[in-house]
């Protein structure tokens, strides 16, 4: 009689792995998706989902209200605000999201010394930096582009002019893409400088808000003293006014600068150079940071 195998307990011992090893690019993609999901608290504890999800909702609700207003108010032909204005008016929410999630993404690895474990695997320093940078920028892009998508769909439901709306939507997307890259770079650098999460949060808020406050104040003074030429150049010194200047010059946005003038194409080109320089600079600084933070 054959033994009843269903009741046997097998000690299968150690099994070696002969399957696929997908190497460096797969590891980089895995790190990217893990970091992107982590920015919204996915794959982390329930507690860490609360803040990013609330901020995401706070970003989307005004867009829904705008759409609702546009559809219900009779005779309206366009949305109450431009696509490019949306990110500027919600910059505090974007700043809070960055300040809470950038340290989560990089400070934890530094603080708990997990970084050497990454570098003892097939990925290299450049893979780690690129994956973290791309994940943070993507998280910000999702945060800033989703309300624009809601507005665009709403405008189509309201039967506004398709061409106009799509053009505005496209301009808005380019603007928030640039904003996402710039903010991600600045946020990650600030967060990577300190293993302490609290310092990272404070540093990011400081970098976003203090220059903005200073620039706005100086611009206000320049405007009230009639020195309007200085207003354009002042905008170079804070991240959000940099984006404001670029989209005013190239993307048909209405500037939030005092007087509403904003830079011309010539000055705007300087704005663009500064923004791209900051993005490249923060990437280079991150690479330098992890040269030291390795094993």
């Amino acid at each position: 009689m054959a033994p009843d195998t269903s009741t046997q307990i097998h000690n299968i011992g150690y099994r070696s792995y002969d399957g696929a090893r997908l190497g460096r690019s797969y590891a980089r993609k895995s790190l990217f998706s893990q970091s992107l999901r982590g920015a919204y608290g996915l794959g982390r504890s329930a507690k860490s989902k609360v803040l990013p999800m609330i901020l995401f909702a706070v970003m989307c609700v005004p867009a829904l209200i705008l759409v609702a207003v546009a559809i219900t108010v009779p005779g309206s032909t366009e949305l109450p605000i431009k696509y490019t204005t949306y990110a500027l008016t919600t910059q505090v929410v974007i700043g809070l999201f960055l300040a809470s999630q950038a340290p989560q993404s990089v400070s934890r690895d530094l603080r708990f010394k997990t970084v050497p474990l990454y570098f003892s695997r097939p990925i290299e320093r450049v893979d780690y930096v690129v994956a973290k940078f791309a994940a943070m920028a993507s998280a910000l892009f999702i945060l800033t582009a989703t309300p624009l998508l809601i507005m665009w769909i709403g405008s189509l439901l309201a039967k506004f002019d398709f061409g106009d709306q799509t053009k505005g939507f496209g301009q808005g997307l380019v603007s928030v893409l640039l904003l996402s890259l710039l903010f991600a770079g600045l946020g990650l650098i600030m967060a990577a400088l300190t293993p302490r999460r609290g310092f990272g949060v404070a540093a990011i808020i400081a970098v976003l808000l203090i220059p903005y406050g200073a620039v706005t104040a100086v611009q206000g003074i320049a405007y009230s003293t009639g020195n309007t030429g200085a207003i354009d150049w002042m905008g170079l010194f804070s991240p959000i006014t940099l984006i404001d200047g670029i989209q005013t010059a190239f993307l048909g946005a209405t500037s939030a600068f005092p007087g509403g003038e904003g830079p011309t194409a010539g000055t705007g080109f300087v704005y663009l150079l500064v923004a791209l320089g900051l993005i490249a600079g923060s990437y280079a600084a991150l690479m330098a940071r992890y040269r030291k933070a390795g094993l």
Binding site: G13, Y14, R15, S16, Y17, G19, A20, R21, L22, G23, R24, Y26, A27, S30, L31, Q34, G43, R44, S45, S48, R108, D109, F112, K113, T114, P116, L117, Y118, F119, S120, R121, P122, I123, E124, G294, L295
Partner: protein, 347 residues
């Protein structure tokens, strides 16, 4: 087959020479890398993982050159760092799955291998809880699991017994032994404790100041002479049985060691006798019987690696064998007095 080979490997920092023309040839098995803090152990591991370029010389791991095939080496090698490296807010399973994927394992394989590996290192239900609540022993197991999860051909373990209590230490050493015997994965394990390596390793490499001090199999280190540890009771006739036996054994021409335990509590009543052959056992037994003492234990004790070094390094106090087999040391009476006190309490 050679697992690790280095050829006059040197690493110089502006002010420090971390490795100085180190040439090694390490085969499969468990190899201990011994050295004091700052002897160059961690620098060597960094170079072997292809993360830090050597100033001169060459190194190959699993037949792959470290300067050109760093990524390929790191796919086949596991690394367990000395320091804490675990985020406290995720569970062991989540963490090890992530690390498996970072080693290139597809998602399904990463989950299966994680479950297997955590079971092999001895983590069961607790693997679903956040790592922050783990004991040091459990954390060390998670660190070991992330080094093994991608089924490497070689693991580099940096001070795996750091911070563990004696039981945890024994379990970890047993686990390290199994990594080679059961899993077939070669191991390079660093430590500054010789005693634990001699029980675990097939081969021991000693580095000091970036130079190779000695490289040989563990049996070479310990086989030179066998030592018998003898412990006897006291009797009314001989209130200090140990002293009486020492006198008697010296009288019949046996050589007594001052062992490693010298100066430790309890060392006073263990005599270390050099065993020259089977007749030594008989001599000890007969001598004890003649004195009318109780023989508590007589066990074979291998030479400790440390003693080999003490022989070479005469500057270590209290450790060198006393010439002429007369282990008369100044602090002996103190120990004897303590023993007698303890003995009478028990009686």
């Amino acid at each position: 087959m050679t697992v690790i080979a280095t050829e006059s490997l040197s690493k110089r920092y502006p002010r420090v020479t971390a490795l100085d023309r180190l040439s090694l040839d390490i085969g499969p098995g468990v190899t201990g890398l011994v050295g004091a803090n700052g002897a160059g152990k961690s620098t060597l591991i960094k170079i072997l993982l292809g993360l830090s370029p050597a100033t001169e010389g060459s190194a190959a791991v699993l037949g792959l050159d470290v300067t050109t095939h760093g990524s390929a080496i790191r796919e086949r090698v596991g690394y367990m760092p000395e320091h804490d490296c675990l985020p406290p807010d995720v569970s062991a399973t989540e963490f090890v799955v992530h690390m498996a994927r970072m080693s290139g394992l597809p998602p399904t394989a990463a989950r299966e291998r994680t479950a297997d590996t955590l079971r092999h290192v001895g983590l069961y239900e607790e693997r679903y809880r956040p790592i922050g609540g783990y004991s040091t022993g459990m954390k060390q197991r998670v660190k070991l699991a992330q080094a093994l999860v991608h089924d490497p051909q070689l693991v580099l373990l940096d001070e795996p017994t750091n911070g563990l209590d004696p039981v945890g230490r024994d379990e970890m050493l047993g686990l390290i032994r199994r990594i080679y015997t059961d899993f077939g994965i070669s191991v390079l394990v660093t430590s500054h404790l010789l005693g634990e390596l001699e029980r675990t390793c097939d081969h021991v490499v000693v580095v000091d100041g970036g130079k190779l001090l000695r490289s040989s199999s563990t049996s070479d280190f310990t086989q030179s002479t066998a030592t018998l540890a003898v412990e006897v009771t006291d009797s009314d006739e001989h209130p200090d049985g140990t002293a009486a036996l020492r006198k008697a054994l010296t009288g019949v021409g046996l050589t007594l060691h001052a062992g490693e335990e010298q100066g430790l509590p309890g060392a006073g009543h263990v005599l270390l006798v050099e065993a020259t052959g089977d007749q030594t056992y008989d001599t000890v037994r007969d001598t004890v019987a003649d004195l009318g003492l109780g023989l508590v234990r007589m066990e074979q004790r291998r030479h400790h690696i440390a003693e080999v070094f003490r022989d070479n390094d005469q500057s270590v106090p209290g450790g060198q064998p006393v010439p002429g087999g007369q282990p008369v040391l100044g602090d002996r009476p103190v120990h004897t007095a303590q023993q007698k006190g303890a003995g009478s309490d028990g009686a």
